[in-house]
């Protein structure tokens, strides 16, 4: 199958999968009746939308970070965004701010995540273009400092606070407010559009900073805007859905091997494919057992083996057809 065909397959299949997710839920499989079960239908549709938005944001952010950092292990959380957001959420929960409004906790998580990126970038940046290694290393270090602070606060927190933090960290796509979901959706859409516009620069950056520079790319500006966009959409999605792992690592790799490494195609495919993947995982998480499974568990259990199959196939056939 050519990359081009695979691309259109993803673009067609993803909306179909999203629609199928509406048919699944803990109260039974099937389309909820419009007159008697309207609330259930609305509930499911908003959840699928949340899956689409968060999955798309995390996947695209993973694509961009893998391109900029030229590291196959790069994912949306590699620069400490998740721990920063976690710290923000923990502070919001423990100070009682989170109970004040539906926007308070996501906003705290968002602000702390963005601050974390600036801190990481400032630590790695010594005048010229920051080296990839110092970016990743300062990301890891800032991330562990934030995690320790979270652990510390959890250890001295009252029981209820501890539970709230734990549940937040497990991730959940049940939205608390429609306005919040809409805001996140707009933010994610703008961010992903921005990343898509950056696609030619990202293609050049995958060849290395020097090569990109000789191709006429303004490396520092391209890297800076890519990192910022990736962080913004990740922070927005983490604020709403908590820490959902694996999507931002597996979807970019899987789709790259399907639709090819050209970011002009990869980014839209990652947006729809990642969104559909997370929505399907969430549909499974809320349907299979009588008690809902954390969606991050499902993404790892389904995504992991799928990714390994792709990896083996790629080793046998190489990247290109």
């Amino acid at each position: 199958m050519t990359h081009r065909r695979a691309f259109w397959l993803v673009m067609i299949l993803a909306p179909v999968l999203l629609a199928l997710c509406v048919l699944m839920g803990p109260s039974g499989i099937g389309f909820p009746d419009w007159t008697t079960q309207r609330e259930i239908l609305i509930l499911r549709i908003t959840r699928v939308l949340a899956g689409l938005i968060i999955g798309a944001a995390l996947s695209c952010s993973g694509v961009v970070l893998q391109a900029i950092l030229r590291n196959p292990l790069a994912e949306p959380y590699v620069l400490g965004v998740s721990s920063g957001a976690g710290l923000g959420a923990t502070l919001a929960i423990l100070t009682g701010l989170g109970a004040a409004s539906a926007f308070a906790l996501p906003l705290c998580a968002f602000v702390m995540a963005v601050l974390t990126l600036f801190l990481v970038y400032a630590l790695a940046n010594q005048g010229s273009t920051p080296s990839l290694y110092s970016l990743i290393l300062s990301g890891v270090i800032v991330s562990s400092v934030c995690s320790s602070l979270i652990m510390f606060m959890v250890s001295v927190a009252p029981v209820e606070g501890m539970h709230s933090i734990l549940w937040w960290m497990l991730g959940n796509l049940e939205v608390t407010s429609d306005a919040l979901l809409a805001t996140t959706g707009v933010l994610a859409l703008l961010g992903i559009l921005g990343m898509w516009l950056l696609a030619p620069e990202l293609n050049a950056l995958t060849l290395g900073q020097d090569m990109a520079h000789h191709l006429g790319i303004r490396v520092k500006a391209a890297m800076g805007s890519g990192l910022l966009l990736a962080t913004l959409v990740t922070a927005a999605s983490v604020g709403v859905g908590g820490l959902i792992g694996f999507v931002g690592l597996i979807v970019p790799h899987s789709l790259r091997s399907l639709v090819g490494p050209d970011h002009r195609r990869l980014i839209p495919a990652a947006a729809l494919g990642g969104g559909a993947f997370l929505a399907v995982c969430d549909a499974i998480a809320r349907t299979v057992l009588s008690v809902e499974i954390p969606v991050g568990v499902v993404t790892a259990l389904i995504g992991g083996p799928f990714f390994l199959v792709l990896l083996r196939r790629r080793r046998r056939h190489g990247w290109t057809e």
Partner: protein, 294 residues
Amino acid sequence: MNVRIWTGCLFAAVLAAGCKPAGPTAPLPTGPMRVVSLAPSITEIVCAVGAADQLVGRTTACDVPADVVAGIPVIGAFGVPSIEKILTVKPGMVLYADMADDSMARKLERAGLPQTRIKCTRLEDIPPAIRTVGRLVQHGKQAEELATELSRQIQAARAQAAAIEHRPGVLVLIWNDPLTAAGRNGFLSDLVELAGGYNIGDTVNRDYFQVSGEWVLAQNPDVILCFFMAGNKAVRQTILNQSGWGRVKAVQTGRVYDGFDNNLVLRPGPRVMEGVAAIRRCLAGESPEGGSSP
């Protein structure tokens, strides 16, 4: 461009094809208030005021009264209900005590579910909680009688406890790994006081806290109560063999008790006085169920 139009058509087709109702459709609610309980203590209260037939949803943790809850649909785990399942039973009111997560109340509200938080964490919360639940389920009279009787029993127990000259110091353990004890802000502190002891964890301004061996040695409790792993016979022995605890009074005298019905002592519900009675028996040197010392 063509492909995009196709995508849209497919999406619409799949939506339209699946047009059949999901699960049984409940009739529109009429008559007595249909309630969903999201906490075992609230389930007990609803049944105790005689409104068991109005209970249309419960959590996996709601296990008492066993014969009643067996026939009631489960809508999720304690603290993490499934909003969709709550919607399918069409309740007139969702009653909850504590949630695993702050945002749950907001999620219920967003789904358009009428909800009431029943504050029920301390001993003195229980009679008002019974009255509130009773009012909501239109069983106000029974609730009033139950609440008055419970208040009377609490008063009587308090008077009895106040007459005791030397209150034994009690260490209340709710978990063994890490060793976790009940502090001043918890329900267990109230129960121990009512049973005629004093909770040595009262010096700590928390619901529950992790204890060190050193702290236990310094506090030197007369009695240790173990409210964890109810079915496990080895709990008491583990505490007695805890290294370095040989000098603790409770260990020396063997006044370490396990085998409680943990739902009685850990659940702020209408059966609370039975829990107090079990603790009182231990403080008097009997086993929790009555009979001679272990």
